[in-house]
C-alpha cells in the first residue's frame, strides 16, 4: 500500500446548538395572543386585491400595499374542507429542539370557509378515512395549556355536516 492510500480521512464533529428567540411582531404576535387568550382565529385582508393573508403580515407581497392591523381583520370560523393531506412516516426532526420525533403524523391542507388555506395536523390517523373536500373543524388546546404558539391549535377533526 503506498503512502497516499493509507491516509485516514478524519472529520471534526460539531453538535452545538444556536438558540433563538424570534419576535412575532405586531401582526403575527397579535394573532397568537388572540389564539391563546380568546381562542379566536383571524386573517388580515389586502385592501387592494382583497385576498386574505394568513398569517397576517405587514404587507401584501403581491400588491405591495400595507395591510391593516388588528382589529380590522376577518374572524375565521375554524371550519373548512380538506384539500390534501400527507402522512409523514419518516421520523422528522423537531425544528424547535433539533430532536428526532419518531411518531408518524398526518398533516392536512385545509381551505377555510372564508377562502384562505391553512396547514395543520389532522386528528384522524387512518388515511383511508380521509377524502378530498371532507368537512373539518379546528380543535384548540384547553386554555390553560396554550402558550402563544401555533401549536396551541391541537388539530383539525373530521365533522359530519
Amino acid at each position: 500500500m503506498d503512502k497516499k492510500e493509507s491516509q485516514e480521512y478524519l472529520g471534526t464533529p460539531n453538535l452545538m446548538n444556536l438558540p433563538f428567540n424570534w419576535s412575532a411582531g405586531p401582526y403575527l404576535g397579535r394573532w397568537l395572543v388572540e389564539l391563546r387568550d380568546n381562542g379566536k382565529l383571524w386573517a388580515s385582508r389586502c385592501p387592494k386585491c382583497q385576498r386574505l393573508l394568513l398569517p397576517p403580515r405587514i404587507i401584501c407581497g403581491i400588491c405591495y400595499v400595507r395591510a391593516p392591523e388588528w382589529p380590522d381583520w376577518v374572524e375565521l370560523s375554524g371550519k373548512g374542507k380538506l384539500i390534501e393531506w400527507e402522512k409523514v412516516e419518516a421520523p422528522q426532526m423537531n425544528p424547535s429542539t433539533g430532536k428526532i420525533e419518531p411518531e408518524p403524523y398526518i398533516h392536512g391542507n385545509i381551505l377555510l370557509d372564508e377562502g384562505v388555506s391553512f396547514q395543520h395536523y389532522l386528528e384522524e390517523q387512518d388515511v383511508t378515512k380521509l377524502a378530498e373536500r371532507a368537512r373539518v373543524e379546528v380543535v384548540l388546546k384547553p386554555k390553560h395549556e396554550r402558550k402563544g404558539l401555533v401549536t396551541d391549535i391541537l388539530y383539525f377533526r373530521l365533522v359530519k355536516e
Binding site: N14, L28, L54, M93, H107, Q119
Partner: protein
C-alpha cells in the same frame, strides 16, 4: 441592455455523495484549477472571485472567509451572494454584472455544496417561517409529488412518462464524466420498481444529494476577445423571485418560471423557443419538474411535454436536447447546481462537451436555476457575439 461579456472558462469536480478526502475549500480548489486550465489562465489573471452556496447547509458562517485563500481570492476583490437553490444561477449573474460593469476584466464564480457535512434535510426544513409553519414543513418531496399527480390528472400523462425522463437523464449522465448517478437503467420497469416516496413520486424520480463544486470564468468583451479562442457570449439574464408562499392552495405555481422565460425571450426576439434556441440545461430536481417546467418555458404547448419525451425530441441526439448532461436528476450539489447548467451549456456551445456533446449544432442555449419558493433565474448564451 447590458455591456457584453463572455464565459471564457469552466471547471467542475466530479460529483458524488461524499468526499471525506477533502475539506470544503479544497473541493472548491479542484474546480478552480480545472477552470483555469480550461481557460489557459493563471490565478494572476483573475481580478475578482465571487462565491456562494447554501448558507446553513454546512453550518459555516461567511463561508467565503475560510475559502478565500484556497480559491485565489487573497488580495483580490470578491462578493458572497446566496439565494438558496438558485445560488449557482445567481452567481453566474453576479459574474456577468461584475464583468459588464467595466470595473473588472476577469471574474471567477465559485460554487459548491458538501452536503454530507451538515444536515440538508434540517437545512431545507428551516426554509419555513420559524413561528408559523416550520414545525409542519416536510420539504421538497411533497412539492414534487403534488406536481406529478396534478400533471397526470390534468393532461393524462402517466408514471411511464416520468420514467422516460429518468431514462434519458441516466443515458446522458452515463456519458458525462462529471455526473453523480450513473445507474445504467435499461427499461421503464427499472425505474418503476424503485421505492415509492410519496405517490406518484419514486426515489428515481428525484435528484440525489451530491457533493461537488463548479466554477466559471467570465470576462469583459475586450478581455474575452484577447484571452479566449472560444468565448461563449452572454446574451441576457433574468432573475425572478416572489413573495413567501404560505398557502399551498395551488399545487402548481409556474408564474416565476413563465415570467423568467417570457422576459428573456421577448428581450431577445425569441418567438419559437424550440426553433430559436438550440438546447436547454434546466434545473429539474425531479422528473415531473422537467415535464411541467418544459411547458412553462414554452418548449411546447401545455400538456404536450410528455409527448416530446415519447417522441425523443429532448434526447441528446433529438431536435431540442434538454439536459444532455444528465441534469439535476443525476447530479445535485445544490449551491453549484445552477452554475453547472451554465457551465454545461458553455461546453456544448464550444463543442467541448465530449461524450455527451449533442448531435445538432449548438448556437444558442437556455439555462435556468430554481429554488426558494419557486424562484427562477434564466440565462441566454450564444456562440456568436451578434
Amino acid at each position: 441592455m447590458a455591456n457584453r461579456v463572455a464565459i471564457i472558462g469552466v471547471g467542475q469536480t466530479y460529483h458524488t455523495s461524499k468526499r471525506p478526502d477533502v475539506c470544503i475549500p479544497e473541493l472548491c480548489n479542484e474546480a478552480i484549477r480545472a477552470a483555469l486550465e480550461d481557460a489557459q489562465l493563471t490565478i494572476k489573471d483573475i481580478d475578482a472571485v465571487v462565491m456562494g452556496n447554501m448558507e446553513l447547509f454546512e453550518g459555516r458562517y461567511h463561508q467565503d472567509l475560510w475559502q478565500a485563500d484556497y480559491v485565489g481570492a487573497y488580495h483580490k476583490s470578491g462578493f458572497r451572494v446566496t439565494t438558496g437553490g438558485t445560488t449557482g444561477g445567481t452567481l453566474a449573474c453576479t459574474a456577468f454584472f461584475c464583468a459588464a460593469s467595466g470595473l473588472y476584466d476577469v471574474i471567477m464564480a465559485v460554487t459548491f455544496e458538501k452536503q454530507s457535512e451538515g444536515d440538508s434535510r434540517a437545512g431545507l426544513k428551516t426554509v419555513a417561517d420559524p413561528i408559523w409553519d416550520r414545525w409542519i414543513s416536510t420539504g421538497a418531496i411533497g412539492t414534487f409529488a403534488r406536481l406529478g399527480s396534478w400533471y397526470m390528472k390534468t393532461f393524462g400523462a402517466t408514471e411511464e412518462h416520468a420514467a422516460l425522463v429518468r431514462l434519458k437523464a441516466d443515458r446522458n449522465a452515463c456519458l458525462n464524466p462529471h455526473a453523480h448517478l450513473k445507474l445504467h437503467l435499461k427499461t421503464v420497469e427499472d425505474v418503476l420498481k424503485s421505492e415509492m416516496l410519496v405517490p406518484p413520486l419514486r426515489r428515481l424520480d428525484m435528484c440525489p444529494t451530491s457533493e461537488g463544486a463548479c466554477v466559471i470564468i467570465v470576462a469583459s468583451e475586450k478581455k474575452a476577445k484577447k484571452l479566449s479562442r472560444k468565448p461563449v457570449w452572454v446574451k441576457d439574464w433574468v432573475e425572478v423571485h416572489n413573495e413567501t408562499r404560505y398557502n399551498r392552495g395551488d399545487p402548481v405555481s409556474l408564474e416565476n418560471l413563465e415570467k423568467a422565460a417570457l422576459t428573456i425571450y421577448k428581450r431577445n426576439g425569441i418567438t419559437n423557443p424550440r426553433r430559436d434556441i438550440s438546447m436547454a440545461e434546466i434545473y429539474e430536481p425531479a422528473t415531473w419538474a422537467e415535464l411541467v417546467w418544459s411547458e412553462a418555458f414554452l418548449f411546447c404547448e401545455k400538456g404536450e411535454s410528455y409527448k416530446l419525451i415519447e417522441r425523443g425530441v429532448t434526447e441528446r441526439d433529438g431536435e431540442f436536447p434538454v439536459n444532455p448532461s444528465g441534469g439535476v436528476i443525476a447530479t445535485n450539489p445544490i449551491g453549484a447546481t445552477g452554475l453547472i447548467r451554465v457551465a454545461e451549456a458553455a461546453l456544448q456551445l464550444r463543442g467541448d462537451a465530449g461524450p455527451h456533446q449533442v448531435s445538432r449544432e449548438v448556437k444558442r442555449t437556455f439555462t435556468t436555476a430554481w429554488g426558494g419558493s419557486s424562484w427562477t433565474v434564466a440565462h441566454l448564451l450564444s456562440k456568436s457575439l451578434d
